[in-house]
């Protein structure tokens, strides 16, 4: 019975040569694919529309705004110290750094900067660098996850947990801290904080070596990331990239090394992409810059903890920060966030409430390069490229 049906069907390939049949089988057509906004490899609600031809991506257009809350409009309705909790919710993996950027911008504008005590400055550096480690741990873990390596993620979150516990002991919050505020920090360090942090650093430092063994030098991982998504130094500057993405492209630029950053007395290196596994500026370079930066942050925290001795009793001025009046002037101020340069533009009008608050988010600026990099790459590489840029959508959309 089955034979009869087969025989009755016309043979569509009867007149074609085997070459022609093969070509017909391999023929592809252009297709639009929606990646996101709920795709796990987009780290939040990023939607990328891909124009594909078979496995090749011809064009990738990112669409953002799914998490838009118009945080800048809110900034025009509250006093600076009330705006600190909103900055937490921009880059929610680096709350401390966001608090610090806005607090310092306002302090510079009002002239309060000159009165900030030495102890406050050191505490801020300790927390900013601890948060940098925590943020890079998430980036490291989820990047492995994007590329199919589940285990590093669990290790990274185990270590991050210790940092979150330290933060919790200081301010009670684990993600949205509002600890660093205008004029200082909300409270002095808790008892034994310095000792526990030192213990953590001693525990953490060898772990980075483990990460390198586990993921950085893993053959499959290198195959997925080396020579993929290359951004040249010239392109990186032109597109206004910053942070590990800029340094991965071989540009040795870190705001912490510039005069007036508050890091002048600290001895640390700036890891830069060298093209060790492929070309300079590929995904692996951006990844390894983050992993190496964790060790540099450990160095900075150690030095800051040593300097904290003997500064006990110096007060923080956070109460003064609550009664600030902003002058009728404006400022633009940037700091080095884990993801790049986070800038705040603040314009006052003589009252306590600013006229305009604008945040220049590093994720927002870094994301604009995806359109350029995701041309003529394989579909699987798109996840590798977006992961290596390491965006947090809360801050892209604000």
């Amino acid at each position: 019975m089955a034979d009869v049906i087969l025989e009755s069907q016309p043979d569509i390939n009867a007149d074609l040569s085997s070459d022609q049949i093969q070509q017909q089988d391999l023929q592809t057509e252009e297709m639009l694919v929606n990646m996101g906004p709920q795709h796990p490899a987009t780290h939040g609600v990023l939607r990328v529309v891909l124009r594909t031809d078979g496995e090749m991506v011809l064009e990738a257009v990112p669409h953002i705004g799914y998490l838009h809350r118009c945080a800048e409009k809110i900034g025009e309705t509250v006093a600076p110290y009330q705006y600190i909790p909103y900055t937490d919710r921009m880059d929610y993996l680096a709350g401390m750094n966001n608090n610090l950027a806005f607090a310092q911008a306002v302090e510079k504008l009002t002239g309060l900067e000159a009165e900030i005590t030495e102890r406050t400055k050191l505490i801020r550096i300790v927390f900013a660098e601890l948060n940098r480690i925590a943020s890079h741990l998430v980036s490291f873990g989820t990047y492995g996850l994007d590329l199919g390596a589940f285990t590093p993620f669990l290790y990274a979150f185990r270590e991050r947990e210790y940092i979150l516990d330290l933060f919790e002991s200081a301010c009670g919050a684990r993600l949205t801290y509002s600890y660093i505020t205008v004029g200082g920090v909300t409270d002095d360090l808790p008892e034994r904080f310095v000792d526990i942090t030192r213990e953590f650093l001693d525990y953490f430092e060898p772990k980075v070596h483990e990460y390198n063994l586990l993921l950085s030098h893993n053959h499959i991982f290198i195959k997925r990331t080396a020579n993929v998504g290359v951004i040249t130094a010239q392109e990186a500057l032109d597109y206004g990239l910053s942070g590990p993405v800029l340094r991965g492209s071989g540009v040795n630029f870190d705001l912490r090394k510039q005069p007036g950053s508050g890091y002048e007395d600290f001895d640390f290196n700036v890891p830069v992409g060298q093209g060790e596994k492929g070309k300079v500026g590929d995904c692996w370079d951006r990844y390894i810059v983050r992993v190496s930066e964790m060790l540099e942050s450990v160095k900075i925290i150690r030095q800051a903890l040593d300097k904290l001795d003997g500064t006990e009793g110096q007060e923080t001025l956070h109460k003064k920060g609550k009664t600030l009046k902003l002058p009728a002037d404006e400022i633009y101020y940037e700091i080095e966030n884990p993801r790049g340069q986070l800038g705040f533009f603040v314009r006052g009008n003589g009252s306590a409430i600013p006229d305009r608050v604008k945040a220049r988010g590093p994720s927002f600026c870094n994301l604009c390069v995806t359109e350029k990099v995701c041309q003529d790459v394989l579909l699987g590489d798109v996840a590798a490229i977006i992961g290596s840029i390491d965006v947090v959508m809360g801050e892209v959309d604000r």
């Binding site: 404006e330 006229d355 604008k358 927002f364």
Partner: protein
């Protein structure tokens, strides 16, 4: 190079296009007319002495009482150190302010000078309503071409950061919450 010196160089080259300078502030800036701005921008980037190769941010500001918008461009020059292992230095940081009328806000786009301006200008149009002419990602609206919106939906009405913005009471059948029941600006 100090902002004062940069302003001197610009005044020598462009004369009347540099209408004002402000240095007694935490944010030293040079005021450039909208018409001359793309030319000035290309000069700022390419001139040997300045080399402002990095656009840090574009902040659009609403001056409701003056009936004007301002776009503030924060620029910097990143230069390599003497050897490869030296840190790059940030020099020549300066801001450029471009004014435009509130009723017909047009500023020429500089996305061809710094690619970073692409998204910043789209954001400034979306949230403040400043139209950047000749933007590479433009769409046609009721009043000619404007940059494509970036954060708000494409069919959103108005520009939220304007001081006289009234929050819409309804969007595609979704009602606004009662706390937002205000037709006057927050200030």
């Amino acid at each position: 190079m100090a902002p004062e010196e940069i302003a001197e160089i610009l005044k020598e080259t462009f004369g009347a296009s540099i209408t004002d300078t402000e240095f007694e502030t935490a944010h030293p800036r040079v005021v450039v007319t909208a018409d001359a701005w793309p030319e000035v921008a290309a000069f700022l980037r390419d001139d040997e002495r300045l080399q402002l190769n990095f656009l840090r941010s574009i902040s659009a500001v609403d001056y409701l009482e003056d009936d004007k918008f301002a776009a503030v461009y924060d620029l910097a020059s990143y230069r390599p150190g003497k050897t490869d292992s030296d840190a790059w230095a940030l020099t020549n940081a300066v801001a450029v302010q471009v004014w435009t009328d509130r009723s017909d806000p047009h500023i020429p786009s500089v996305a061809h000078v710094w690619r970073a301006a692409d998204w910043h200008e789209r954001e400034a149009y979306d949230l403040m309503g400043v139209i950047f002419d000749n933007h590479p990602d433009s769409v046609e609206g009721l009043n000619g071409f404007h940059p494509r919106r970036i954060l708000c939906p494409d069919d959103w009405e108005g520009h939220p950061l304007q001081k006289d913005y009234a929050f819409p009471m309804e969007y595609h059948g979704i009602p606004a919450v009662t706390e937002l029941n205000q037709t006057r600006p927050i200030h």
